[in-house]
Symmetry: C2
Subunit: 427 residues, 2 copies
């Protein structure tokens, strides 16, 4: 959606993978839209639902059930959260609303939360003529779930160089309503809603016409919990490797469900489209009698803001410590093309490995102008295969001047980390 | 060098990693330039050499010796090969010569050999105003050492759409000299050399002012052989994993030496810069008393011509058959960005795996507008780790619309190959 709001893509409809009626036409699958599932009865094997247009109740029988209720944005319980001009970005309605606010000449925006959505939207706002774009982040650096502080600094500078104002280590306390500026806000029942005027943080007051909350999501797991299904990590629906819940003919997949990390072999919750797609396919196959297995996630994530990509997979040094590993880490700066080739871009690669277990790879964080996706994926595969740091220093990387230097940066980073571990073990 | 000839980079000097005098300044290493090593005496531990400026003989003592004599272009033993206008592309002198021929208005060029250099130079010629560019290739498709025929066809169309003429399944028989057009050719001793007029192939005669031979290279291994050192695959200097030759204090590295494939665990010869760099570092370390090991190569190679990258790693289906595997293969076409994202590019991925050994990965070939390097590298790592096809279908790939579709193409290709293997094992 940030790309539609930015104007790179011309309509939200283009983002729809498959319209509901296509399921009926292609696969003879009934899709009940505008229908809210309200209750699952595991004994009767029935779902009761409400048709939101005519408010009639319907009951749907099932042999197997897949719960794919997704997640919803977390809305912090603070004053002013319902003011006109306070927006989320979860569904197309949200997107349309933001786009119309920008079109109507909003010239300042505050983004609360410097995560993936926050950073994508900072670019989107800036490229749409919103002059003052401020990101407020509680942590002491941006992208706290993606990058350590040292790599985050590179992205911070990139954003600041493009005019984005960063307020780090500041927490949103209250959203301020407009006394003077009433604006054009009108609520659904026809009453004028008070417009937003700015925010108060733990350190400051900042004026703004638009507040975007990018403060994470929560799983829509209540319907499962109410049916007696076990919840797990972060209150997501607990599933096994077959995507089966604690009730054997009920499956769950996607942003409402847990996923097992293949690095720690523990449950976690990381609601991303890639995982949702894979889990959905497996839940569907198994609900139909199959026996497919989800191998789990490494916590791979990537995004881009302006001209910089940033991604991670596996564990950070701190996370590895907490998991009981004995980690070592090294960060190198390299380039994405041969030194002499035009439009060469910098790339920073951090690799974390265990000092024990033969130097087992534990994770990686990468920031760069290009070539981040392929390298994060490579480390994600290394994690699946329990590769060690010598493997990552030794694989036969290919080389062509427009796409890499002759020494592959991942090979370099791994070689450097080997040296670090060796030199420290001598001391 | 093709990039300098094309004009993307403004001088050949920019390609020099480190000038000879830097070694003296930085590391106190004497580099004898303009000096040709002629003979190695392993008993006396001496190299005899000729200073090419004053023709004096010198002797250099050694404790350890590293042979890094590189390779030279293969020049086919046919008539007309020494005509003016017949060029190679190995050293900067060759590059300068080609650049000056183009600057002087050559308007047709024939490239003999549709390998990596041939295809890079086709683009370089075309972008420098050489109207007629013809590639003559003995095999029935271009890039015979990189791609199978089906993927090569995609690159062939790409070249033809950009005006490059392809003559496939045609062998160079003779280079034709010019009777009428004497040209400006002048040999070193001041005599005019006859200029090239075209070539005769097994099927045709083609006129041209410039003939570039891109017919592969041969290792400069004679000095080793004459010292009693064993040669190996393709007459390259046989080395072990320490880069040690058959004489224990003599090492060899780079285009003059063999390399072991970590897929077949057999010696091979694939002279590429990546391998040369790695082998050189290991030979140097071990010549100085170290104990470093070269893990081998997967046969990873990549190049680009116009807007298409093409690469490979590991074995093709045919090569796998010859090596005694029971291969299966599958090719998919996907995209490099989300379907709705601008400048989306196609990518074709072929994966070869063993039907036995739990579906062990054997190789991959990829052609696409971007994202080829990262994916070839990922498969090269999979090969090092003896990964199987389920691993390649399951790793947690990251996703961001400007750099990938939500289903990673390698995941898709591997999943499809699993289906192919399963469906065939049922039949």
């Amino acid at each position: 959606m940030p790309y539609v709001i930015e104007g790179l893509i011309d309509s939200f409809e283009k983002l729809i993978e498959r319209p509901a009626d296509e399921f009926k036409r292609q696969y003879d699958i009934d899709v009940l839209v505008n229908t809210r599932a309200e209750r699952i009865d595991p004994l009767q094997q029935k779902v009761s639902a409400i048709n939101l247009k005519n408010h009639k109740r319907i009951f749907v029988d099932y042999d197997s059930l897949v719960i794919a209720t997704g997640a919803r944005p977390f809305v912090p319980p603070i004053r002013g959260i319902h003011l006109e001009g306070v927006v989320l970005l979860r569904n197309y309605g949200d997107g349309e609303k933001i786009k119309s606010l920008i079109t109507n000449g909003v010239d300042s925006a505050i983004i609360v939360g410097a995560g993936l959505i926050g950073l994508e939207m900072a670019e989107s706002f800036k490229k749409n003529g919103v002059d003052n774009v401020t990101i407020v982040e509680m942590a002491d650096h941006i992208l706290p779930n993606i990058l350590d502080g040292d790599l985050a600094k590179i992205v911070e500078k990139h954003l600041q160089d493009r005019g984005v104002i960063l307020k780090l280590g500041e927490k949103l306390v209250e959203i301020l309503g407009g006394e003077g500026g009433v604006g054009n806000g009108e609520s659904k029942n026809g009453n004028r809603r008070e417009r937003v005027r700015g925010i108060k943080t733990t350190k400051d007051s900042i004026e703004s016409d638009l507040i975007l909350l990018g403060t994470g999501v929560r799983p829509n797991s209540e319907i499962a919990r109410n049916a007696g299904i076990d919840l797990g990590y972060a209150n997501a629906i607990k599933v096994d490797e077959y995507m089966r819940t604690s009730i054997s003919n009920i499956f769950a997949a996607g942003d409402c469900a847990t996923a097992t990390s293949y690095v720690t072999v523990k449950d976690t919750y990381l609601p991303l489209g890639t995982t949702a797609n894979k889990q959905g396919r497996i839940a569907g196959e198994n609900a139909a009698g199959g026996n497919a297995i989800f191998r789990g996630i490494a916590g791979s994530a990537i995004s881009k803001s302006f001209d910089l990509y940033f991604g991670r997979t596996g564990l950070s040094f701190e996370e590895a410590l907490k998991e009981g590993f004995e980690p070592a880490e090294e960060t190198i700066e390299s380039i994405t093309r041969s030194g002499y080739y035009p439009d060469n871009k910098p790339i920073w690669i951090k690799i974390v490995s265990d000092k024990k277990n033969n130097g087992r790879i534990l994770g990686s964080q990468i920031v760069g102008g290009e070539g981040v996706k392929g390298r994060i994926d490579l480390v994600a595969l290394a994690l699946l295969l329990n590769a060690n740091i010598a493997d990552l220093a030794s694989y036969d990387a290919c080389y062509v001047p427009p796409a890499s230097p002759v020494w592959e940066p991942v090979n370099i980073a791994a070689s450097q980390l080997i040296k670090v571990i060796k030199s420290k073990s001598i001391l």
